[in-house]
């Protein structure tokens, strides 16, 4: 009791803080931070950043677990990166093009790339990496490569197994640039100490706890050719892994960290009215979507029932109830920001909340009160979303029960449409293209049982395959898929969560540089 009383004292906050123009910033790519002195590019000496995801090992041959760790691009460079407008721009690769419509690509790398030990990077190093990654079989993109071979010191040719828009970009982003000789000379194969071409040198790594970097003085790339999001304006940066959300907030308050990355909004909102801190609102690349089982024996096989469920859910209510108000309503199954997303969809009627319409459709569907099971993973936010959805469905007379499973069980079950009627998912795209997300969800030939919900839909396949090729990835074809998904209520996008990056004003950031998700690209930001 004494502890509670002591801790309750003196917890006031500062005056109102206007949020930096985060929505505009997400579109523009960078914004001048308020209250700073004249903009400059001299780096801040040292920054400590709190992050939620860490790596147990620094090996470059890794799977998708922890793939979006914030320090990944500081540790290793890739052949290409995405800029703040989601466009793929060169990094170590100078250019890439396809002469046969998207199956075979010729890639050229810069001829002056060097790692921190002075090793020159050649095309043979890249070819070796891709082949080793194929053997490791951890990341699916590498198994889509049919062959890769060097075509000169600084050129290589990669042939994909099939022409799929976005696959080369996915490959370029996931290919880390390292020297084969440096890797083979490493006693632990880069598990705890890395030699890379990055502008930063790794200084210290404590598995599961922290990783520190110092800026190199001999970075190979010319400043004018460095992508804005890849610039190195921080002299020393330490990433501290803090998995507990409230501890992230506490670390920011105590000064243990200067910047909290992707902090949970429930924790981050306490900093909103505090002018000692600045908040940058970004968005997750995924949304919360619901997918209907494609198994023909299920009640949701009825189009009217599916549409009724879409109409009875208030997406803004889901955002307010499950995401503490920090999110945007979706207008497609896929999240906004993916390449190919048409902003015109945002002004369409996308099953806007309408209880009367829902009841009308339920009556037409012949639904007799059967129990519908809603599959969800056991993570806190998913459960909240599921509970809210259940409430909305029960309000219109749909008998919905929750089937909550731990992540591993959920991952194994979600592809089997026999095990549920509706599944909540959190789907995005590693390549940044709509077609890539669609292909793993709606292609009837993707899995033994059909698509990702055991659906077999020839018309869907026909429309999907048209968008896969470079020439076929057109606005019209994309719109056809969007319309078919919407009209047939095959899946429904509800809410795209926002995330907060919060930094202490004392660090003197004069220019915020944002990535394609509207989140801070810390090393590229400018400081006093």
């Amino acid at each position: 009791m004494a502890l509670t009383l002591l801790t309750a004292c003196g917890s006031g906050t500062g005056s109102t803080q206007a949020k930096a123009g985060s929505t505009a910033a997400a579109k523009a790519g960078s914004t001048a931070a308020s209250g700073g002195s004249s903009a400059g590019t001299s780096g801040k000496k040292e920054l400590k950043v709190g992050i939620g995801i860490g790596w147990d090992t620094l090996t470059p041959f890794r799977g998708n677990i922890g793939n979006d760790a914030e320090f990944a691009h500081v540790l290793y460079e890739s052949l290409a990166v995405q800029d703040s407008t989601s466009k793929f721009v060169p990094c170590v690769a100078k250019s890439w093009n396809s002469a046969d419509g998207g199956t075979t690509y010729d890639v050229e790398i810069y001829d002056y790339v060097k790692d921190s030990q002075g090793n020159s990077i050649k095309a043979s190093d890249i070819v070796w990496f891709i082949q080793e990654a194929q053997k490791a079989a951890q990341k699916p993109i590498f198994s889509q490569v049919a062959s890769v071979e060097a075509a000169g010191d600084y050129k290589f040719t990669v042939k994909m197994k099939k022409s799929m828009v976005g696959s080369i970009e996915n490959l370029l982003v996931d290919t880390f640039v390292i020297s084969k000789s440096a890797y083979e000379a490493s006693s632990d194969k880069f598990a705890s100490n890395v030699v890379s071409t990055s502008p930063y040198l790794m200084k210290q790594f404590v598995s599961g706890s922290s990783i520190s970097f110092e800026k190199r003085s001999d970075y190979w790339q010319k400043p004018e050719l460095t992508a804005p999001t890849s610039k190195a304006n921080v002299d020393k940066i330490t990433y501290k892994i803090i998995t507990e959300a409230s501890q992230m907030g506490i670390s920011l308050e105590t000064g243990d960290i200067d910047i909290a990355r992707r902090i949970d909004p429930n924790t981050g909102k306490q900093f909103e009215k505090n002018d000692k801190y600045k908040i940058v609102m970004g968005h997750e690349p995924h949304g919360y979507q619901l997918f209907f089982s494609g198994d023909p024996s299920k009640a949701v096989n009825s189009l009217e029932l599916r549409q009724a469920i879409c109409y009875c859910i208030d997406s803004q209510g889901v955002i307010d109830g499950a995401l503490a108000g920090y999110g945007t309503v979706m207008h497609d199954v896929c999240a906004e920001g993916l390449v190919g997303y048409d902003e015109a969809w945002n002004s369409e009627d996308y099953y806007n909340y309408n209880v009367e319409k829902a009841k009308e459709l339920i009556a037409k569907s012949g639904y007799k009160g059967e129990k519908l099971s809603l599959l969800s993973t056991s993570s806190t936010t998913f459960q909240r979303v599921a509970q809210i959805m259940q409430g909305y469905m029960q309000a219109v007379g749909i008998n919905c029960t929750l089937d909550i499973r731990d992540n591993a069980d959920y991952t194994a079950s979600r592809l089997d449409g026999k095990q549920y009627d509706i599944v909540i998912n959190h789907v995005g795209s590693t390549s940044g293209y709509l077609a890539a997300t669609w292909s793993i969800r709606f292609d009837s030939h993707a899995y033994n049982t059909g698509d990702a919900t055991s659906r077999h839909d020839d018309k869907m396949d026909e429309l999907l395959y048209k968008t896969w090729t470079l020439n076929g990835y057109t606005k019209d074809n994309i719109n056809e898929v969007h319309k078919y998904l919407k009209d047939n209520a095959i899946a429904y996008g509800m809410a795209q969560p926002q995330v907060m990056d919060i930094y202490n004003s004392k660090i003197g950031m004069t220019k915020e540089v944002l990535n394609e998700r509207g989140q801070l690209e810390i090393t590229a930001c400018e400081f006093q």
Partner: protein, 318 residues
């Protein structure tokens, strides 16, 4: 005595084998697909099938169990984590000392505070000292450690700035986690000590010692407490095991990368080798701890020491 120790060490073998089979079986029949988790949502059926074959998941249970036992106990190869690719031996070597350190500090708090509390309660039975101690014990058992952890952080890190809120480093990083995790142990130790002491305090030899004019402090510490220690040592042994295996919540809150978080993450990712080998390590540690408890009995009570050596002498003397 040496023979007793060797016999107990030999008993470790069937215990460890039993733990291995049990954990392997439980993980094998847990729902969830490691291949799907490793490869993620972009994996096609072909990739999933290939991964399952690579991990040996398509083989029958007995063959997989046999391979695992062969790999661990005969070839002494722990292999790599399925989800991170990191050497399991290296992971455990790095993380076990932190969990062990946290456990030791928690034990020191639990028994360093719990035993004196219990002695005070027993020697002042039915007085205010007894009531205060038992109320403290009740509160200690009732408070959730994660809630107390956050309160301690707010007080000692934010308000007072005395201790770091999280992370690893020197002993100061372990004080708050250990304090948060030891309230239950303090409470249990206090109650057990009180109960044992009350049994002993009423014994004739205590009355005799007092009649002989031995100072009360000596009566309590040298005569009463020493004889009351056996159940306390037993409790300490089982508490050590529980604490060693139950640090996951505190490790998450205080960002301590220890064995608890490693195993929980491995369970969630269905990383079978890490879970199995982690459980084996914990079982070995716990078994050694119980051996230590038995040896402590002998150190505290000469009758038990004689018993350990007694069977051999009895055989000798016919």
């Amino acid at each position: 005595m040496a023979r007793y120790v060797v016999k107990r060490l030999l008993w470790l073998i069937p215990v460890i084998l039993g733990v291995t089979v049990l954990v392997f079986t439980l993980m094998s029949f847990c729902p969830g697909d490691p291949a799907q988790i490793i490869l993620g949502s972009t994996a096609t059926q072909e990739m999933l099938d290939a991964k399952r074959t690579e991990l040996g998941l398509n083989q029958p249970y007995l063959i997989r169990l046999g391979s695992f036992i062969d790999q661990i106990f005969i070839k002494h190869q722990m292999g790599n984590s399925w989800s991170t690719g990191m050497s399991i031996a290296a992971s455990i070597r790095e993380r076990m000392p932190r969990t062990f350190m946290l456990t030791i500090v928690m034990m020191i708090f639990s028994f360093g505070i719990g035993i004196p509390l219990g002695v005070m309660a027993a020697t002042h039975q039915n007085k205010w000292q007894d009531s205060v101690s038992m109320i403290f014990a009740l509160i200690g058992i009732s408070i959730p450690s994660f809630w107390l952890a956050m309160l301690l952080v707010i007080l000692f890190s934010i308000k007072l700035g005395w201790l770091p809120a999280l992370g690893i480093g020197g002993i100061q990083y372990y004080i708050m986690p250990a304090l948060a995790g030891s309230t239950g142990g303090i409470a249990s130790a206090a109650r057990q000590t009180r109960s044992s002491m009350l049994d002993v305090i009423r014994a004739d030899y205590i009355t005799t010692a007092r009649s002989k004019g031995v100072p009360e402090r000596q009566v309590i510490m040298r005569h009463a407490l020493k004889n009351a220690l056996i159940p306390i040592i037993t409790m300490a042994g089982t508490h050590f095991g529980k604490t060693l295996g139950g640090t996951m919540v505190l490790e998450t809150i205080f960002a301590i990368p220890g064995m608890g978080s490693l195993i929980i993450s491995a369970v969630n990712n269905r990383d079978y080798p890490v879970v199995q080998i982690g459980a084996i390590y914990m079982a070995i540690l716990f078994s050694l701890c119980m051996l230590g408890v038995d040896l402590l009995y002998a150190a505290v009570d000469p009758r038990i020491k004689a018993q350990y050596a007694g069977r051999k002498r009895a055989k000798k003397n016919g």
